[in-house]
């Protein structure tokens, strides 16, 4: 009986599942070269980019969907997806964002008007289905030389930068979903921090899937030049739909000498209902290239959403003394499946990486940590510290696969792992010491996640903690 209560209490009452009838221009379902030409044409793209898309598409046709992850789902019919859907009305004659869209994002708690943002301010790029609908604080950022805009605008206004960096971290040949994304990506964010600049505010992108059967394929490209610093946040959610929605994104980060990029994600995609119906398939490739001396990239992710997560934010430690970090909390409940982790590829000398992964699983869900630490022959004195902890409620499943490959004798690798299985008797014991079931669970989860929450920027840390508590309380939030 108690186990049932646990599942109910852990139940995410998904509060962001609403959808609106937004008048949208949607091109017919299906995927072929004509669809790609049409997308490219709608976005006024230069010839080289169309050709790149077509090459990616032709390569994708030769590939097979990967099946090595510990996730199960029915075969995806790629011809049954809308690849392009944009709101018809985004801005009025005065160049202001359509009030309906603004209200829509406000309902999500995403401020896309600059006046509403509090003193701590964050610049936001808001992406709805296939299109960015607005980016805030562009001018203020421009003054210090930072380019922060939709991917599409970057292609039009800064083609040389896009051309120089696009696909250099994640090639379209990298994997099945990266190839698909390269062929059909519609929008996303572009961010360029010039030499020596420290971003005066946090930059963020909010991705939202509203329309039914629309796949979201966004692309984010972040370039940090020598000695620069940026903290970047990504949030996401989706309408509650009975059909599964496909989200196949690519994020590329390039960090040059002495630059630092902190990338934080709070992922709250619709996870499907308690019987496993609906929910987002989140197949994402995120990778950073520490290309310079002492480049530093850290990924922090809080994963509560999506029916299936397939995601490994990774760092290539190419430059000597570069640093890569991965901090993750992944919560799965009901029938959710998550196969997530990271890859740290040490190529430069004295490179250092840290991996802290926390999995929380309840209900019939399964969580898998899959990590790879690879040390190349020239990466003398490379160091890695890995910690994988699991918190399991009832009979959920957790798997851990930490792979290590090294051809260098001078490396230092440390690995720690703990598993805490919380049974009904444990909860009874804690309740017998005065805590309600919710208080007991929050105590367990917050204590368990503390070291990762500390890595999140202030406001985001509060949001992340709240999000996990909402999931635990099963309230409407």
């Amino acid at each position: 009986m108690q186990n049932k209560q646990i599942i109910e209490t852990l139940d995410t009452k998904y509060s962001l599942g609403f959808s609106e009838n937004i008048d949208s221009e949607t091109i017919p379902k299906g995927l072929n070269e004509d669809v790609i030409r049409l997308i490219s044409n709608k976005k006024n793209e230069p010839e080289w980019l169309l050709n790149w898309r077509l090459e990616a598409f032709r390569h994708w046709l030769t590939m097979e969907e990967p099946n090595w992850a510990s996730v199960n789902y029915p075969k995806i019919d790629y011809q049954d997806i809308f690849y392009y859907s944009v709101p018809k009305k985004i801005k009025n004659e005065a160049g202001e964002i359509d009030p309906e869209l603004k209200a829509y994002f406000e309902k999500l708690g995403v401020p896309i008007g600059e006046q509403q943002v509090l003193a701590g301010n964050i610049a936001v790029d808001a992406v709805l289905d296939s299109q960015s609908v607005g980016t805030t604080f562009k001018e203020k950022l421009n003054k210090v030389g930072i380019i922060f805009c939709s991917f599409n605008e970057a292609v039009i206004n800064h083609p040389e930068l896009v051309k120089q960096y696009l696909g250099t971290v994640v090639s379209y040949k990298d994997n099945y979903f990266a190839a698909l994304n390269s062929a059909v990506f519609s929008d996303g964010s572009f961010c360029f921090i010039p030499k020596g600049v420290r971003s005066p505010m946090e930059l963020s992108t909010y991705f939202r899937i509203n329309q039914a059967n629309v796949g979201q394929f966004e692309r984010t490209l972040i370039v940090a030049e020598e000695g620069s610093f940026v903290s970047y946040l990504e949030g996401c959610s989706a309408s509650r739909r009975d059909e599964n929605q496909l989200h196949a994104a690519v994020v590329e980060i390039i960090a040059l000498d002495n630059s630092t990029v902190k990338y934080s994600t709070v992922q709250n995609w619709y996870p499907g209902d308690e019987n496993g119906k609906g929910g987002v398939y989140n197949f994402v490739t995120k990778r950073a290239d520490c290309r310079g001396y002492k480049s530093h990239v850290s990924w922090t992710q809080i994963e509560t959403g999506s029916a299936i997560t397939w995601k490994y934010p990774s760092v290539i430690l190419r430059g000597d003394e570069s640093v890569g970090e991965f901090y993750s909390v992944a919560l799965t409940n009901h029938h959710q499946q998550a196969d997530t982790g990271t890859k740290m590829i040490h190529l430069g000398k004295n490179t250092k990486s840290t991996i802290i992964s926390k999995s929380i699983s309840a209900g019939n869900s399964s969580g898998t940590y899959r990590g790879l630490v690879r040390v190349g022959s020239k990466a003398d004195n490379a160091r890695n510290f890995t910690q994988c902890d699991s918190l399991i409620f009832g009979n959920a499943q957790v798997h851990t696969h930490p792979y290590i490959e090294t051809t260098n004798g001078s490396v230092t690798l440390e690995h720690e792992a703990t598993t805490s299985k919380i049974s009904d008797e444990h909860l009874f014991y804690l309740q017998q010491r005065g805590m309600s079931e919710e208080q007991a669970k929050n105590m367990l989860v917050n204590g368990f996640c503390k070291s990762v929450f500390q890595k999140l920027p202030g406001e985001f840390a509060v949001e992340a903690q709240k999000l996990l508590e909402i999931n635990l309380e099963g309230s409407l939030g």
Binding site: T418, L430, G434, M435, L444, G447
Partner: protein, 244 residues
Amino acid sequence: MKIQNLSVAKSNKKILNNLNANFEPGKIHAIMGPNGSGKTTLSYTIAGHPDCEVISGDIIYKEQSLKDLEVHERSLLGVHLCPQYPSVIDGLSHAAFLKEAINIRRHNQNLEALDEFEFLKLLKQKAEEFKFNPKDYIRHSLNSGYSGGEKKRNEILQISLLNPKFIILDEIDSGLDIEAMKYIGNFINQYIQPDVTILAITHYPEFARLLNAKEVHIIKQGQIVKTGDIDLVKSIEANGFGDF
């Protein structure tokens, strides 16, 4: 605490059968009886374990019925169960666990929460008092890797810290050597106050004597069949439970 005509089933099997008892405060009560007579079920029913289904009857404590209260609500009223096998939870430190437990209690009594500093000072004192290494204890996961004796000492540490008023010791003596038994017996004898009730479930007449139990209750087939003073222990030693 008054137990009135209490019948309880576990997994659809009736274990307690119209049980009546009066556990007066200010006393140590020993509960004794053969295996399977319902001793542990009685303890868990008082604490509110969801597996113990109350079919009829009631439990009255501090002039209210416990029957419909949640486990934590009973705990906040002062009911405290030391189970025979205390939980082991890896990844939950004693400090995190007991800070939450003590502050929830304080909140319930309209007292201000202890801050980190005050709390750790207190917890280290308690650790020292109960023969744990204070520095190690606060960071240590709940009962992780502890021996039977350490777990039981950790139980009485919690009593000392949380100050409950109705304490059920479910075979706290099992698996302990005589020295450890004495240690616990000593603590319990010092802890007893006019407003404190202690139920000690035990198989060992020796432990009942060590506790200096004022009342001995014999439980058989789900009923209390005899209540008397410590002399009852003698006849149990001589003839087992057959006479009752």
